[in-house]
């Protein structure tokens, strides 16, 4: 059987008009499908230079091509849009993709025959978008405006049916808070960098999808054989029993080293935020669609002022780092903020708590005054943190500045984002991980080389510390690269250690494009359970093509280049791919001095070292090293000559 046909459904919120058109077969193959095609469509249809909050911005929702099948861990949906983060001093905004799992959304889109949902325009008043197979409706949502995410999600499932896939924004998105994200199926977040605010700017409170169709693959028997073989492999993973018991609450033993903010001794952090607190709080570990490594959490706070509060998602790692940064010793108080962010407001917990950390410290040392804050005293205590959180969500007073992010703080008060002391900031986004306790592994590099600075499904083996060279090599070899490329990646150099993070990152990113296009969760590659060649077999059986892992990577490269070119069009270049300054400032902690070292901790990396690695990254991409953008030759080689005009 040929590759099942896929469809683009375009909804104009301004007019209510709906169009349905098939994806060109050649485009589907060249860009893999899913978010790969989504990138291409956005590149063709998004006008350069527009304000992300204007009617002209587009939201392109793309379930992976394996979403809705039985293949383990393929629930993913990716969204491409222009994000409202202020990403530079001159106010640029990046176009990026964000990705989510979920139990219902991706499957529902596939079953509704909606492989690419394009949303444009702006509704006159609040609406939600209801899709049921061919029927696409804009439904009055004025009664939902101002309501929290969970309440709206529950109501929509009651209205539209138990298999509804749901994306909802909270009050932060309605208020155009630039760090507002969306919540999917109650358990998954989507869109760091402001997807929630883009939906808010369009008066779009929610998307609810139902489909009654089936998901077909080109070669059913072969597809099931491959899926079954991979399932059996994953079921044999020795750590699976522990993983499905704790889900995203697992991994504290690694986390307490790699995400250590360096303020409390590790033993103390362990007591306050360690595994014991997690075991006490987790109620259920929920699986996304077809996932056999369940990870999403339902938790319940026990004791304290928030006793009995229930939340969904993953509260532990983020509350542990922000808890230490803010000096909040009771983990339940931090988890309460995560719960409110996920269930009500939809604001990004990371960005908000770190900005709160920054401004309260700046106030303490006199860099911000009471006049600046509109009379509010920014004391370093929990009640102030809660107040600032609420003010940011509601854009109230000083919170209006916070709601515009790091560069607005700089513009208003001269507070340079690079001064912030944990994890660092690039393109207006605070990184989740700090390269000093984590070491300089490829994900760190990807944070500043990707258009949108977030991991977004790029995890590989190297995100864990001290994996052996053999393990890393096994993964790289599964990507089907040439011998010379593999040799270059594993050529030791003084500035990089035993493997070249710059060169590796290029392929890791291209594989991320593949995973996001097919809808595979990166936990499976992170844990070394599924490899590039496995993805090629699945892709072939689903589409009827016959491509190697190397060809998949090559198509991933094409998608990466399109993603880059749309951003080159917006003025992004090497100047924006800046390594956070804080990584080069030693972290003086109770555990001793922590400096950014290479992956195997053989040396402290200097700015020159990292810039050499960045040179290598661009070289491996075949891009102009000085400018960090694609060359004419590269675009022609990838069949992307139409973007030459944007160079």
């Amino acid at each position: 059987m040929a590759r099942p046909r896929s469809w683009i459904v375009t909804v104009d919120l301004s007019t209510g008009k709906v169009d349905r058109e098939p994806v060109d077969e050649q485009v589907n193959s060249t860009f893999l499908g899913g978010s790969g095609v989504g990138w291409k469509l956005v590149a063709d249809r998004l006008k350069p230079g527009i304000d992300p909050f204007s009617e002209e911005n587009l939201i392109c929702v793309n379930p992976g091509i394996l979403a809705g099948t039985l293949t383990p861990g393929t629930p993913k949906t990716s969204v491409v849009t222009k994000f409202p983060t202020i990403a530079s001093d001159d106010g640029k905004h990046y176009i990026g993709s964000c990705t989510t799992g979920g139990r219902y959304l991706g499957v529902a889109l596939r079953r509704a025959g909606c492989e690419h949902l394009f949303i444009k325009g702006k509704a006159d008043s609040p609406v939600y978008l209801a899709i049921k197979d061919d029927k696409v409706e804009l439904v009055d949502a004025r009664d939902f405006w101002g309501k929290g995410i969970e309440a709206v999600n529950n109501e929509l499932v009651c209205r539209e049916g138990p298999e509804s896939g749901v994306v909802v924004i909270g009050t932060a998105g309605e208020n155009l808070v630039r760090q507002a994200l969306t919540i999917v199926d109650k358990t998954n977040s989507l869109g760091r960098g402001g997807l929630g605010a883009v939906m808010g700017s369009k008066n779009l409170k929610a998307i609810v999808v139902n489909g009654s169709g089936g998901v077909k693959v080109a070669q059913p028997s072969e597809f099931m054989n491959v899926s079954e073989e991979l399932r059996q492999r994953i079921l044999k993973w020795p750590k699976r029993a522990h993983w499905i018991e704790l889900g995203l609450a697992a991994g504290w033993d690694t986390f307490k080293h790699t995400q250590y903010p360096g303020i409390w001794p590790k033993d103390e952090w362990d007591k306050l935020y360690g595994e014991k607190t997690r075991m006490e709080t987790v109620e259920e570990v929920i699986a996304d669609n077809s996932c056999i490594l369940a990870c999403r959490l339902k938790w319940k706070i026990k004791g304290g002022e928030y006793d009995g509060e229930i939340g969904f998602g993953s509260p532990f790692s983020k509350s542990a780092t922000s808890g230490m940064l803010l000096g909040v010793r009771d983990f339940r108080k931090m988890i309460h903020i995560v719960a409110d962010a996920n269930s009500n407001t939809g604001i990004d917990f990371y960005t908000t708590t770190r900005m709160i950390d920054f401004v309260t410290k700046m106030y303490e040392i006199g860099r911000l005054s009471k006049e600046d804050t509109g009379g509010l005293e920014l004391t370093r205590e929990y009640k102030t943190y809660l107040k600032l959180y609420e003010m940011t969500v509601n854009r109230e007073g000083f919170g209006d500045v916070m709601a515009d992010g790091w560069y607005r703080l700089k513009k208003e008060y001269g507070l340079e984002p690079q001064e912030y002391w944990y994890a660092g900031i690039c393109k207006g986004v605070d990184f989740i991980y700090d390269a000093r306790p984590s070491n300089f592994h490829p994900l760190m590099m990807s944070f500043f080389t990707r258009p949108r600075p977030h991991h977004g499904g790029s995890h590989t083996r190297t995100n864990s510390r001290n994996k052996t060279l053999e393990e890393i090599r096994e993964q790289v070899e599964g990507w089907g690269l040439s011998e010379e490329t593999v040799r270059n990646i594993f050529t030791e150099a003084p500035y990089t250690g035993k493997f070249n993070v710059g060169r590796y990152t290029r392929y890791m990113e291209d594989m991320m494009r593949v995973k996001n296009s097919i809808g595979l969760c990166s936990i499976y590659s992170y844990q070394g359970l599924l490899f590039g060649n496995d993805q090629a077999r699945l892709y072939n059986a689903a589409t009827g093509e016959n491509v190697s892992a190397g060809e998949l990577v090559a198509r991933g490269e094409r998608i990466s280049n399109v993603a880059k070119m749309i951003n080159v069009r917006e003025g992004f270049s090497r100047d924006d791919d800046r390594v956070p300054e804080v990584w080069f400032r030693p972290m003086d902690s109770p555990e001793g001095r922590i400096e950014m070292q290479d992956y195997y901790q053989t040396k402290v990396l200097t700015k020159e070292d990292v810039n050499r690695l960045l040179d290598d990254y661009y070289e491996e991409r075949g891009w102009e090293i000085e400018k960090g953008i694609p060359t004419q030759k590269k675009l022609k080689e990838l069949g992307l000559a139409e973007y030459l005009k944007d160079l």
Binding site: R103, V157, S212, K298, F312
Partner: protein
């Protein structure tokens, strides 16, 4: 060929992955479509919890080798010692 003549559903163990539905529909129709499976998934809207409900009249237990049973990796579907007095038991 196995000779399984009943299934035991343990709702509390269900994680909501819906693999059982996907496997059931695929074995019958060669496409993944929960609507064509013999399993309905109950969803508690408030708690998010799910549980599979097998339609007793339509399910033929795949002639003794149920696809859903193989697909469930969380123990929500099982088959205990031989019991001929029921085909689906909810624990």
């Amino acid at each position: 060929m196995k000779n399984i003549d009943h299934l035991i559903i343990s709702p509390i163990k269900c994680r909501g992955c819906r693999s059982c539905q996907l496997a059931c529909s695929f074995i019958k129709t060669e496409e993944f479509n929960p609507a064509k499976s013999m399993i309905r998934m109950e969803r508690d809207v408030e708690t998010g919890h799910t549980a599979p409900m097998i339609l007793p009249l339509g399910c033929d237990l795949c002639n003794g080798d149920p696809a859903c049973l193989k697909a469930c990796t969380y123990g929500a579907l099982s088959s205990g010692p031989e019991r001929s007095d029921y085909r689906v038991l909810v624990q």
